[in-house]
Symmetry: D2
Amino acid sequence: MRSGFARRDFLLGATATALAGRLVRGESGATRRMTTDLVCGNLGVKADLPQALDLAHRHGFESVGPDAGQLAKLSADQLAGLLADLKSKGLTWGAAGLSVDFRGGDDAFRKGMSELPEQAAALQRAGATRVGTWISPGSDRLTYVVNFRRHAARLREVAKALGDHGIRLGLEYVGPKTAWTASRFPFIHTMAEMRDLIAEIGRENVGLVLDSWHWYTAGESVDDLKGLAAKDVVACDLNDAPRSVPIDQQRDGVRELPCSTGVIDAKGFLSALAAIGYDGPVRAEPFNATLRTLPAEEAVSAAARAMKRAFALLG
Amino acid sequence: MRSGFARRDFLLGATATALAGRLVRGESGATRRMTTDLVCGNLGVKADLPQALDLAHRHGFESVGPDAGQLAKLSADQLAGLLADLKSKGLTWGAAGLSVDFRGGDDAFRKGMSELPEQAAALQRAGATRVGTWISPGSDRLTYVVNFRRHAARLREVAKALGDHGIRLGLEYVGPKTAWTASRFPFIHTMAEMRDLIAEIGRENVGLVLDSWHWYTAGESVDDLKGLAAKDVVACDLNDAPRSVPIDQQRDGVRELPCSTGVIDAKGFLSALAAIGYDGPVRAEPFNATLRTLPAEEAVSAAARAMKRAFALLG
Amino acid sequence: MRSGFARRDFLLGATATALAGRLVRGESGATRRMTTDLVCGNLGVKADLPQALDLAHRHGFESVGPDAGQLAKLSADQLAGLLADLKSKGLTWGAAGLSVDFRGGDDAFRKGMSELPEQAAALQRAGATRVGTWISPGSDRLTYVVNFRRHAARLREVAKALGDHGIRLGLEYVGPKTAWTASRFPFIHTMAEMRDLIAEIGRENVGLVLDSWHWYTAGESVDDLKGLAAKDVVACDLNDAPRSVPIDQQRDGVRELPCSTGVIDAKGFLSALAAIGYDGPVRAEPFNATLRTLPAEEAVSAAARAMKRAFALLG
Amino acid sequence: MRSGFARRDFLLGATATALAGRLVRGESGATRRMTTDLVCGNLGVKADLPQALDLAHRHGFESVGPDAGQLAKLSADQLAGLLADLKSKGLTWGAAGLSVDFRGGDDAFRKGMSELPEQAAALQRAGATRVGTWISPGSDRLTYVVNFRRHAARLREVAKALGDHGIRLGLEYVGPKTAWTASRFPFIHTMAEMRDLIAEIGRENVGLVLDSWHWYTAGESVDDLKGLAAKDVVACDLNDAPRSVPIDQQRDGVRELPCSTGVIDAKGFLSALAAIGYDGPVRAEPFNATLRTLPAEEAVSAAARAMKRAFALLG
């Protein structure tokens, strides 16, 4: 195993190469602005923010997913120390998760909303500007239209509360056909549908969370990505799919690390994001039980290598 | 084969019995007001309206689906003759199909709309008050929300044009999972969703076309029917499903005549319709290739026997 | 409905045409020797042998499936009368079913075997020479090899008992993938496998029962049929499949009358049988609930029309 | 990451505990005789035998799969050195793979057979006594019976050649329904069927390779294992299955490390093997692309931890 330092050097080198390449190609002269991002929970790793920063730094990630709950509990001095650490390590913030339960009853939603301003303020104080969540691709109880209206109303409130603190909200669709056909009433499971919802919400600070896994399982193309603007995308995930499973039989909970099988076109996905000037975090989110049996260091290391392989495809 | 006369006698007898039974049972004292209805095209039988009236009469049906296009071409004398024939045979009108193509491009829709008032007027002159059509349960191009808005806008125009002539519009959902999972964007495939659309259309003269086949494949219950009012239902179809096919693998084009396998609970379906006071046509629509190979008389006779068996379940 | 006489004339005409055509084509100068055959039970029609002969005659069939149980109960005079009727109507015998239960426990098999000689003798007295049965395409208890050995041993006994009376035994495989994948241990479901079993049985009087339905669902070709000799085929069934059902999702209990959808290549199937000189019965066996609701005359008439359409394809 | 030494200590401790437990339970007083076995290729790790011994030793495995090809190339001195290393590390040999291609044409089979004696002799010199291979669960060309006879004939030759050098042959069935339903002619996919084949081969030195993955996907039980004798089992694999995939949709190429999801009852599987006195290797064979992206040390370490967790279940 190479050391974290060696890896970091390598990634910097890869970035420089990519930059040079893009300066030649790019019409706008834009360089790669998206970041390899570490979200420990995605890898089955438990870590507080200082530990996450340390892991990210040693394994060569460029950003870290902030945790609004943890940030809200920090004193001013603790926050200053954390941000100094972030800066000294050359890291930025990725996207936080959304703490509000908007999928169930009204009471739970109201309770979550009452706590959101404080969390949004904490993110704002820390300089974080992105929050993401996912939308369930079906319901056994709510029709599409009723579900759509409810999501629009609730997420409009969420977006407003986040927007008051300069934070954008990203919404992720779930693509696998095995997922959206499992409920009586299928719901949003494609980029086009999510854009319907974002339009219905009607606030400037709402965009997409894109995941190569969902993009693949939804049968979407590089052109679908190129039709987006940078501001349409709040966060991104990068995953691969197991081999020898027909696309319509892929299951959301059975994935692989980026670039481990090549089933999903990571190069096409990332290149399109680069081309539209996407400037946010790119995270691995492999729902893979074997990865989750690894010790923290090895799991993070495996994800770091996978992200490196993927970004190297940007040339 | 029993003669049409014998059959007719039997059906009248069954009706009388059912009536007596319901007078005992019914809280409101309501009698059966729905009719066994003949739609020749559903059986693969080509017949003009006079022929259809003759077939319906001889085989003991109680109503006949009107054809707006044919009616529009009749002179006043011809119409008077037809209506006299209808009356003398003790028949009423069922529901006509909708001639407007509202599923495709704007040009086709506009063309259909331009012809609709004349057809609606012809139905009105003939005393017909019901028109029905079905909604495709998916699209590869239009998201649910976009499709919903388009259907609402177009069908609102249709409903208005029909309403101007005292005609109601019934909308049928397509229930089989094999159908709504076949497109990229599933659309309305349940009663609840159709009620969303009807609410969005927002006109008094729009209701449901119910089909026991779609009610079964959509996993709906007798209670779902009992939650309706008589005015919510414009027309009904009655079909059975092949045996030994799991419900989620039933296919829309492979059906059986009512009460031929018992897979679908015809008694529960019809009893609920009777309980809510449904007063319109009940048609067989068996997509069964073997039935379509029969001579006209035999196909109509087979459907008549099936409807008789079904209505006899009303007790 | 055309009368049986008219139909019979038509069929004779069709035969004559086919004959002429084949005299031109056929290298051996052979004419069509296979017969359109009536098996009332296949159509949901209950009829004893005299009734079956009458139905067959009036609807233009050329042979009738004999019932060994009924034949065994006839006195010599009764049998003579029946055979005179058969002859006067220009009919021959098709294939009887096998009464022995060879699929279950030993006691049932032994009991069936003890009764078989008498039944075989009855068939022999009547001049019938063919018996057919089908093989279940899977078992939850017996492995392929154990099942194969048991079938070979039992059916060898059956074949011997039948052979003692000059009777051939035909074995039918069940092709649909939904059928052979339903058990833990799939068994014979193709022509090639049935030929393995026939070889293992090792008696001259054993051959195939071919069914266009199983031939289609097993993914077999015209060439598979042309690889057979006339003596390899004891009986044949002709059926069609519902439209719009993928081949691997066709279900054994949901079929259509021959030539009603065109999904199955009836012309290719029958032409290949004609080409190899097949000289036995061809029966419709549509597992179609709607057909089974028809009165006897109409069901037989529908089958007769379907067979006529099919044989007309022989040109 | 704990060091290999610490792990080894732990495993010894677990063994001791298990032993104590079994001395209480076991009627025969038998201790655990099966070994945690390292097969580097199963983990995507390339290693020659000295490297494999080193990895096994440091990560606490108890046996190593021998490579007949490598062993055959060693000089007597080299072999003596390797065996001394094996002994000093407290390791034994697991099972080698079979080099003969018995699945294709005769030429390939003959070529493999011509080389087998030399390889068997090499295994014998090294003290290895087990060879294993797997049987394809279907063919598009060979019927079950033809395939069975060919496998029996060929593997009988293989078994004889191996037996001449004191080596046993283990045969593994492939259980997933997605695998055995993919070919036109399903073949052996259950333990019961493999026992048919072993019986047909008819040589004392042939037995099963059991894999918890195939045992699970074949729907087999602990009782199926308890019906075996120790001599019936030549080698074993231990794997887990991804969560949330219905058993009949599990795919052979998508697995997880033992005890990572708990879908497969590792405790029941291993306890039954212990109960029958199985005395051979137990290997992880996770077809998991993410695992294969790990560096050699981490992949071996992950497999070692998984095996430890599994064997700890023996109590």
